[in-house]
């Protein structure tokens, strides 16, 4: 019986409502418990901050496009290679596209214990799972992409929600996926025709369906199945001046739907990396923040959750299933471009990008990401991300926390931009005095994302019975502390327990933990039509056979954590 007691820390836990009280946290056999015996190993956390393990809702950390990024950017790992922390760990390397080992270790050091891979091309699900398997410590799930999938487009064109749901259930099982991801609905399929969909009403060539129909149909199918997570969407028109209107149009597609799930999830739509979707103006000259219009809508509509997609002002590697956007980007910055079409399912592009503080647009993007979080009235519905690596590497989270928690730190950054005057006049940030508190931070990085993912019973909190993912940070929340103290403390945690195993001590990884792969096993009534369609498409179109497609067995998922959903009673 392994017992630990973390004594006297300042505890922040939205699940139990503890707001910085001095409390003890007890762990027995991988779970949080009320109390432990006198033989428990005791850790003194006096003067330090204690939170549950953090939950990453959206990052690109495994799979073919991440690996192609590594492959075609040897310069990304030129100077960052580090020797291993301890004898059981490996050397690490890479900055915006780190090695799998660095991914696991760096998240763990920051106190993150669950990380969702945000875009899994089903055809390459095996690759995604192999990389996640090789990423130590953190529990992971992956979101297969559905928004440009031929089955989905064909079923939804005819309003066949039940068939869409049966196909989703089948594909989640075949790819061992976790949630329904939608990237540039219809637009990525249009890209295969050299086109795009820039509004929710642009028809998709050949399929003659609109992004609005795709999104609404997927919400209906998602709630029909009662999946733990809602649909997780990257809307049309990403990255373009004036796109906030498309974003609002997309939000509105979720109006009128009720959630249906047993996991305590309240939203019917999660919109990701909203920073990239909150732009005003109609060209790069009059480009400006529309974070206020976006957050007014989000604040008034509890059926929505969002993540920020904060620009960190680094050199990074953009990668997305939004193929037409990456082509647009390489035309803008003239840096190298990788592009792939994934048969019947999706596409992807990759372009390096330098977010320079000397470029006005980059500085405005930086401000917008912070504004979204600072304007959020309900921190349980707004989560911090960088859409890693698109707006910056996830290893910069502590720096974003510094900017959110210290007005002095963000003003110092804002006022020293090369085009500070123009940036200030095009954004709202200078007028925002709010400093995110430690409790709100725990909502935005722990309890909030865990709830939105339908994992509130397991992760993101310190209630007895939950998984013992517990983090101690070397910072006294009662102060005094500087912005730099925040960044330092949240970069290298003092202690990190993952499911009751001490994996990080004083900022060093000491144990590879007990990594699990999360996936959703959704049961539906037998659906002969969908199974016939699957067989036919594999015979007619796919370049692989069904047997070489499905993700099965110990090789891909040595330690599965299946979440079961039963949608058979619906009929």
């Amino acid at each position: 019986m392994a017992e630990y007691l973390i004594k006297n820390g300042f505890v922040f836990d939205p699940v139990t409502g503890v707001k910085g009280d001095k409390k003890d946290v007890a762990i027995r056999d991988g779970k949080i418990v009320d109390s432990v015996s006198s033989s428990a190993k005791v850790y003194d956390a006096a003067g330090k901050t204690v939170m549950a393990g953090a939950v990453e809702v959206h990052a690109h950390v495994a799979g073919p496009k991440v690996n192609e990024g590594r492959n075609y950017r040897p310069e990304d790992k030129l100077f960052g290679t580090r020797v291993r922390d301890s004898k059981d760990t490996r050397m690490t390397g890479g900055f915006s596209i780190p090695t799998t080992f660095k991914t696991g270790y760096s998240y763990a050091k920051m106190g993150y214990t669950v990380v969702m891979e945000a875009a899994m091309p089903p055809l390459y699900a095996r690759h995604v799972h192999e990389e996640m398997r090789d990423t130590p410590i953190i529990d992971q799930g992956a979101f297969p992409v559905f928004g440009n999938n031929w089955f989905v487009l064909e079923y939804l064109k005819n309003n066949e929600v039940e068939n869409t749901a049966a196909y989703i259930a089948w594909l989640l099982r075949a790819s061992k996926g976790y949630a329904v991801k939608v990237v540039n609905p219809g637009g990525t399929e249009a890209w295969a025709w050299g086109l795009n969909c820039l509004s929710v009403n642009d028809p998709v060539p050949y399929f003659d369906i609109t992004p609005a129909q795709i999104v609404k149909g997927l919400i209906e199918a998602n709630e029909y199945l009662g999946l733990p997570h809602s649909i997780h969407i990257h809307a049309n028109n990403l990255g373009n001046p004036g796109n906030f209107q498309t974003t609002l149009d997309t939000f509105k597609l979720a109006e009128g739907y009720k959630t249906n799930n047993k996991f305590g999830r309240e939203q019917t739509m999660h919109h990701t990396h909203v920073q990239f979707h909150s732009y005003g103006g109609d060209n790069w000259g009059n480009f400006e923040s529309k974070a206020d219009a976006i957050m007014d809508y989000v604040n008034a509509n509890p059926n929505l959750t969002i993540d920020t997609g904060n620009v960190t002002l680094d050199e990074t590697t953009t990668m997305t299933a939004d193929g037409p956007f990456e082509h647009h980007l390489t035309e803008l910055n003239h840096l190298k471009w990788a592009n792939v079409d994934v048969e019947l399912e999706t596409a992807a592009g990759i372009v390096p990008y330098v977010y320079s503080p000397d470029i006005k647009v980059c500085a405005i993007q930086w401000a917008i990401g912070l504004e979204l979080a600072l304007l959020a009235k309900d921190p349980m519905r707004c989560f911090i991300t960088t859409d890693h690596p698109n707006a910056g590497p996830f290893t910069r989270y502590p720096r974003i926390m510094k900017w959110l928690m210290s007005k002095e730190s963000r003003d110092e950054r804002l006022n020293t931009f090369k085009h500070a005057d123009k940036v200030i006049s095009s954004t709202l940030l200078a007028g925002l005095d709010r400093e995110i508190t430690f409790y709100e931070l725990a909502q935005m990085t722990r309890a909030g994302p865990a709830k939105a993912l339908g994992l509130a019973g397991t992760y993101g909190g310190l209630a007895p019975g939950m998984d013992a993912d517990v983090v101690v940070y070397d910072i006294n929340p009662e102060g005094p502390f500087t912005g730099e103290d925040i960044e330092r403390a949240f970069t290298d945690a003092s202690l990190v327990f993952k499911t009751g195993t001490l994996v990080v001590e004083n900022g060093r990884v000491i144990n590879n933990g007990n990594k699990r792969t999360l996936w959703v096993d959704a049961k539906v009534n037998e659906n002969a039509q969908v199974m016939r369609d699957v067989e036919e498409k594999f015979l007619k179109y796919y370049s692989v056979s069904l047997k070489n497609y499905e993700v099965q067995g110990h090789h891909y998922i040595p330690n599965p954590y299946a979440i079961e959903v039963d949608a058979t009673s619906e009929v």
């Binding site: 040897p74 310069e75 840096l335």
Partner: protein, 300 residues
């Protein structure tokens, strides 16, 4: 200015990575501290003292420190990497990455150097008295930021891919150049006093290449625009001016498209069709001359 001298005392079995050996790495350190600095070979770490005798003294700052490295350094990489000031003299042949990412100071290699010398160079002066290998003054693998500023002068010949993704600064080659010169260049100037082979200025967007000798095969994407007088090392010459690479995108400045410029000696076109035998003979000569032994070293 103080001088510290490092003399290699045994040949490394693999390649020794010694980025500590630069004025920046050694300034302000005692001889014992220098001997304790790390060098790497494969996955193992060693000390400078295990491979070098160290004599002399350093000053407090890199700018006031001169470092002299002696002996057969042909299995030592990264000499003078990232140096920002002061002086470094390499008295034998050296391996790859000499003066890579250097931003200031003066580095003199009295022998030949292998590939990637002056990679991503940002300033300072790199003088190579022997030959240089491939990728002189280029970008690191995958990177689009080659040499940014500073001066590289090579007394001998250079290998292939000189000035790959060059953005600024100047490379002067007194001998011949192998294939691919200024590929993807977006700035800077490359002078070749000897001959070039082929693919000179391929995919060049901006920048200047001046070739006094012959070129075996011209790129098809360059267009003759007339004769112009240019100046190199104080000598004025009238040369044939070409713009290109016309197959690439070109940015506009004040409404005018900006092109890469290639200057050829006026007699060059006649030589362009030199016989195959002559070309092969030249190639053999260049290969033989790639590594010239340096007096006073054991590398011959």
């Amino acid at each position: 200015m103080e001088t510290v001298t490092l003399t290699i005392k045994k040949t490394p079995t693999l390649m020794l990575e010694a980025e500590a050996i630069s004025p920046d790495g050694l300034a302000g350190k005692s001889l014992d501290q220098i001997k304790a600095l790390p060098v790497h070979m494969g996955r193992e770490q060693f000390t400078i003292g295990e491979y070098f005798d160290v004599t002399g003294a350093t000053s407090a700052t890199a700018g006031e420190t001169k470092v002299v490295v002696k002996g057969d350094l042909s299995r030592v990489k990264y000499l003078g990497t990232k140096m920002s000031a002061g002086e470094l003299v390499i008295e034998g042949n050296a391996d790859m990455y000499v003066g890579a990412w250097m931003s200031g100071g003066k580095l003199t290699a009295k022998g030949s150097v292998d590939g990637f010398a002056g990679t991503g160079m940002k300033g300072g002066e790199l003088l190579i008295e022997g030959n240089a290998g491939n990728y002189l003054g280029s970008a690191y693998r995958g990177d689009w930021r080659g040499m940014q500023a500073g001066l590289i002068r090579v007394k001998g010949n250079v290998g292939s891919d000189t000035g790959y993704f060059m953005n600024g600064g100047e490379i002067i080659i007194e001998g011949n150049a192998d294939v691919h010169v200024g590929t993807h260049a977006e700035g800077g100037k490359i002078v070749i006093k000897g001959n070039a082979k082929s693919r000179v200025g391929g995919q060049m967007v901006e920048g200047t290449i001046i070739l006094f000798g012959t070129v075996d095969v011209m790129m098809p994407g360059f267009k003759y625009i007339g004769d112009e007088e240019i100046e190199v090392d104080g000598q004025k010459t009238v040369m044939s001016a070409y713009i290109g690479d016309l197959g690439e995108r070109h940015r506009k400045r004040k409404g005018e498209s900006v092109y890469g410029k290639l200057y050829l000696a006026k007699a060059a076109p006649a030589d362009a069709g030199a016989s195959r035998d002559a070309r092969l003979a030249r190639a053999r000569e260049a290969k033989k001359a790639r590594f010239v032994p340096v007096e006073g070293t054991t590398s011959a």
